[in-house]
Amino acid sequence: MKKEAVKVNELKAQERSSSFSEVVLGYFEKQALQEAQRCLQCKNPTCSQGCPVGIDIKKFIAQITQKNYEDAYNTIKEKNNFPSICGRVCPAEYQCRKACILSKKDSPFASDQAINIHFLERFVGDFAIKNELEPSLAKDRRLSKFKVAIVGSGPAGLCVAGELARSGVKVTVYEALHKTGGVLRYGIPPFRLPRNILDFEIDYLKKLGVEFVLNFIVGRTKSLEELFKEGYSAVFLGLGAGVPSFLGLDGENLCNVYSANEFLTRINLMKAYKFPQYHTPINAGKSIVVIGGGNTAIDAARAALRLQKIQAIPENTTIIYRRTETEMPARRLEIEHARQEGVNFKFLVQPVGFKGNEQGFIEKIECLECKLGKPDSSGRRRPIPQEGSNFFMESETAIIAVGLKANTLLTGVTPELKVDKYSDLVVDPKTMQTSIEGVYAGGDIVGGEGTVIEAFGTAKKAAASIKRGLI
């Protein structure tokens, strides 16, 4: 008989919604061992092919079963610098777990039987943090005389910083905001990625000698050219996809219509949920509607619900999505958590306009019902709005989470940097070098919005070519 997957420990739903503490608590050692033992140790494992950075999953799981956690850590670290982060934020059900032999093959995402690879990865990462394990350095003398500038301290930038610093390169990371971490700090809420984990990873980079310069906008505070003049031999651009898309609907500029980026930045980066102790305000409202079906929409809804609870407003937060739950690009676990916490879902609904009062505050959203048609270019069934099905939803706060685009703050003032029609950087896919020699890029600024681990993948590739270019 097949053994059941080991359930991960979680904070009870009632305990969650009034705080921003982490929801998933991970495995205890015993649970991790039990889950690791379920791995079939396939002769030709498929799971690693599902991992954007190709972690040797079979090997690290085997090392867990032998309680060789330090070895497991080093196995993961060969491919991924931040197991504690990825173990928390990777959409594993679309990646390694979907590729697991135990997962049923007819579903768009991994089934429950698939090994909980991400929770095992997290267990190993957290073990390393608790025991202050440090990955082996691979210092290369030939590299120690070079310095490299990294623009952006999000996932891609942090990854390249780690790769280069471990090899002995002198690294400076420039960050536009007043805190490091990029989307890991302003976008992903602490209930998914606790800040002590993020801080630990960043502090580790500092220990390796990485210097972080905050409040510094490359392209504004200094140009790329000036960085090279300061003696940097190469520059890595991890600019991210930071610009929110709006819908272009009537009433979209009413007060309390937020982009998810703004809503989450106010909460995560500026700590608006602690107003007035922190000074950045935010409006929760009696009815909150989040538009979108991705992880950002779920993060925004779960944060919104907590905000209502903190402000003693009866919880009323609804996600509306044009398709159905099956087509939602969000992580399954997050959908489940959102539902447990009390977020409502309304599927097959498309907004067509926002209506407000005389003071300019939003009151309701006009919507259309949809039906699903044939699959579109994304492979998902296309929503078809039904004429005449108009209805109104009360909404004192609306949060738009329908995608992100490239920020042109740097590319706009650096015409030599070639961009595509989406303003993403054009790179040589083999080396991740941009149209300027010595300038590399990775993460969401190449190819658009993706996941944290995908950013690590392209960043890692860029780091390798930067090193090759230096020697």
Partner: protein, 275 residues
């Protein structure tokens, strides 16, 4: 960023206008007229945009002028020489297009006077003929009068109470000027109502008019969309598309409402802190 010098430019019973000179060499090197920085006074502060009033690349300093209005500006006003601000980032936003337009009127209302100063300076350098109109509630709040007088070919003053210059509004003076002769550009910064009134008058006479908008922002780098304004029917982000816009195309009604979105919280936090 360390405060090298603090000056109280104006003080009444209700408000204060404070000038800070900050040590910010990288920003000083890059600052251009029309641009701004985003400032956090402390780690818990809001991020607020402030116009770069002046910069000295040699000295490595920038000058900011703040009128105490809400909580964050009042908190900033309490900072002293030698203190450090938690964060100052920039320069941000597009700079003003500096070229010879010909005859220009610059209108500054209240703390907006500080914001027209760098633009006036840059426009004068390239040979424009400058008429500067400044206005405030009362004489004490008229800032940079001397500096602007040195720059301008003609300086006109209006105060609400008549304590200096003409009793009335800057727009009264503007009306007279544009009735008398043709101007090539009007540039206005001040309270929203003032800018809106300027726009109304210059539109009738078809004079190109630019305004620099003061809008709520968070990151100020185009990431959040908090600073959305409708300009000519299109949504723009004031932080990266502005802060300057064609005054005749701005949806003033919408902007006024959006700037009041956190009025309640503002009152609350001010009351809590006895400000």
């Amino acid at each position: 960023m360390k405060i090298i010098n603090k000056k109280i430019l104006a003080k009444t019973q209700i408000t204060k206008i404070v000038q800070f000179k900050l040590d910010a060499p990288a920003i000083a090197k890059k600052a251009k007229a029309g641009q701004f920085v985003v400032v956090m006074a402390t780690e818990k502060s809001e991020r607020i945009p402030l116009t770069l009033v002046d910069s000295n690349p040699k000295e490595g300093t920038i000058v900011l002028i703040v009128q105490e209005a809400g909580f964050s500006t009042k908190q900033l006003g309490e900072f002293q020489e030698g203190d450090s601000l938690y964060s100052v980032t920039g320069p941000l936003g597009h700079s003003t297009e500096i070229k010879n337009h010909g005859k220009i009127i610059l209108v500054g209302g209240g703390v907006g006077i500080a914001e027209i100063y760098p633009v006036a300076k840059a426009l004068k350098k390239v040979g424009n003929d400058l008429t500067v109109i400044i206005g405030a509630k009362t004489k004490e709040l008229l800032i940079l009068e001397k500096k602007l007088k040195e720059l301008a070919d003609s300086l006109c003053i209006a105060t609400d109470d008549g304590s200096s210059g003409r009793k009335g509004f800057v727009t009264d003076i503007l009306d007279e000027l544009i009735n008398k002769q043709r101007y090539d550009l009007v540039y206005a910064v001040g309270p929203l109502v003032m800018m809106q009134e300027v726009a109304k008058r210059t539109k009738e006479r078809n004079i190109k008019t630019l305004v620099s908008l003061s809008v709520l922002m968070v990151d100020a780098t185009g990431m959040c969309g908090c600073c959305r304004v409708s300009v000519g029917g299109e949504t723009k982000f004031a932080c990266v598309d502005g802060p300057e816009f064609d005054a005749h195309l701005v949806d003033w009604g919408e902007l006024g409402k959006r700037n009041n979105v956190y009025k309640k919280q503002e009152n609350h936090i001010c009351r809590l802190n006895n400000l």
